[in-house]
Amino acid sequence: MRNKAPLACVALLCAGSAVTANAAATIVIAVADGPNVGFNDPTPVSPVGGNSGRTLGEQRLKVFQEAARIWGQALTSRVPIIVSAGWQAQSCTANSAVLGSAGAVAVFRDFAGAPVRGTWYPVALANALAGVDLMPSLNPANAPDITARFNVNLGKPGCLTGMPFYLGLDSNEGSSAVDLLAVLLHELGHGLGFQTFTNPQTGAPLNNLPSVWDHYLTDASLNRTWAQMTNAQRVASATRTTQLVWGGTQVNDAARSILTAGAPALTVSAPANVVGSYQVGTATFGPALFSPGIANRQIMPVVDQPNGTGLACTALSAANVAAVSGKIALVDKGTCANTVKAANVQAAGAVAMIVVDTLDTLPPATLTGTDASIRIPSVNIALSDGNKLKTALASRTRTSSNVVATVGIDLTRRRGMDTAGRILMYAPNPVQPGSSVSHFDVTATPNLLMEPAINRDLGSSVTLPQDLTYTLLREIGWR
């Protein structure tokens, strides 16, 4: 059985070059650009970072060949993997841009050698598992398995202005360029299977069957995989930041060996109905979070507005001083700078500050600002988390509360993993179609290739001990 994934495959305009040297899998690049565009751009360029191409198009192709070589070396398949690759305009602004996009062209289920029945596999993986080309008839010469498109305008005015692709092969892009090699490795990762074919906005699986991804994508709060959920449960799960995890042991075992121990957190230890580890944005001012941190202190809110909120934009009243002295002060975002709030609660004797954001965005934004006089740590939490704490705080006195928390580094977690040792998957709220649930979470430290944004410190490895992408592909069936 075969099903077209909802990903367009543009007409192939020009056959590409096969990469076979030392490869356990062969990745063929089918160039989809017209004359003088993209891989065919004749603009002369100087050699850069080990890339000897003499035109812009040549250099782009050499980077692609390097990415194909790296993936070809890691993977095993008797069937060549054909990638339709091209350059075109992608959405961008002066400060942000879609670097590229890629995906499987088709998905298969219940083929000979399929590990899990009734489950969609991307065609390149299905071919590898079956040991034969499952769709040879479409275009025997080079029917693509993966389609990949890259932003041809990157770095031009209005499109991540001044930040073009770096075309060197040495991951030495510096601070004013985006490493194309990392972008290519990332996008090929999606095409090889680092994605679900289930729609995270509607929860609807492709043709009512789960993707192999969905057998591993797990909601910790429901203790179920996506394959075990209803559409409505998947929709809710897609935005459940810190609860959406990878359920496979291979990735999680590997992640424990490479992700940094200790994660910033607000850990509430009482009362029972709000106990838990809350995701925080850290602050650019005040001391860095440490372990165990400001431990087991009561949270007390500042109240200085008629509606019961507290902005802490002016020196605290006697009543508020009595409330927050020696406690973790809870304040609301807005009206004045975060540093002003921190200075005011610090002057009142607070030992740390929690800012309740006006947004429900997860992870919460970083608290920005500079003030060298701030000596207490500050964290930002999402609006709904703040409201949950405020409800629990409604039974406080003027000087004490029943809400006890630790602001610091939670050593029981690794950065980008949950307390049960599972790697977090990207589940922002609101959902981001095309990014949500098909990436690792942004909190992974050190940075991983398959986070939703390309970080500057990535190398060019897809395997351990640098990266988890190949480990995950192995877990879903690649060898």
Binding site: Q298, V303, Q305, P306, N307, G308, A319, A322, K390, T391, A394, S395, R396, T397, R398, T399, S400, S401, N402, V404
Partner: protein, 216 residues
């Protein structure tokens, strides 16, 4: 047991409540009604005792009922009613309970005991604790007893009403524990009178004296 000289009496306990779990009160005929103004979005009304505020007089640390100045929004007035199940009271029916606040730093908490003919809604105040014109609200568990009966047996509503005027500057928190209503069949208290007894403080003083004597 109550008011001493137990051997001469055959008291009948009409109601006994330790507030181990206040979620059971409504099912047992109690009414919890927060009539504070203005209303608050996040309104705890009466809530289970918080161990961090102070521990219960008896039982688990949270085994008491509590209310606080946050029953009304900032600058509002608290009037939070805790109404007992309807009871038939006689001439010597005594309500006894213990109450406490957290600290003397934030005065303004007031608790009244009010009684009405059953269903009439016309309440008479029999006892006021934390009256700003007299004694401050006790900062340790303190026993209060009040005769809630009339001359002839009658069905009554008995209410404990927590109030604060202007929560922007007044009020803090109160707890109530170990409440009972008992028909005292002899050893008549003063008709219509009420008693406040600082039993805990007295008890401590007595123990100290006794220990000193034993030490000699």
């Amino acid at each position: 047991m109550l008011l001493g000289s137990a051997g001469l009496r055959a008291d009948v306990v009409l109601l006994s409540e330790n507030f181990d779990d206040i979620s059971t009160l409504t099912g047992n005929g109690w009414t919890l009604s927060n009539q504070s103004t203005p209303a608050v979005g996040v309104n705890p009304g009466w809530f289970q005792g918080e161990p961090n505020t102070f521990a219960a007089r008896s039982g688990a640390a949270n085994s008491y009922i509590s209310a606080n100045y946050l029953n009304a929004s900032v600058g509002g007035n608290v009037r939070n009613w805790l109404i007992l199940p309807q009871l038939t009271v006689g001439p010597n029916t005594v309500l006894t309970f213990y109450t406490s606040t957290d600290t003397s730093l934030f005065p303004g908490d007031v608790l009244t005991v009010q009684v009405a003919a059953a269903g009439s809604g016309t309440y008479n105040t029999l006892l006021t604790i934390g009256d700003p014109n007299s004694a401050a609200y006790p900062t340790g568990w303190t026993k209060y007893s009040v005769n809630v009966g009339g001359a002839v047996p009658a069905n009554v509503d008995i209410a404990l009403v927590y109030s604060v005027q202007d929560t922007s500057i007044n009020g803090n928190v109160i707890g109530i524990d170990d409440l009972s209503v008992v028909n005292v069949t002899s050893a008549v208290p003063e008709p219509g009178a009420w008693l406040t007894l600082s039993v805990m403080l007295t008890g401590v003083a007595l123990r100290k004296r006794r220990q000193q004597k034993e030490g000699v």
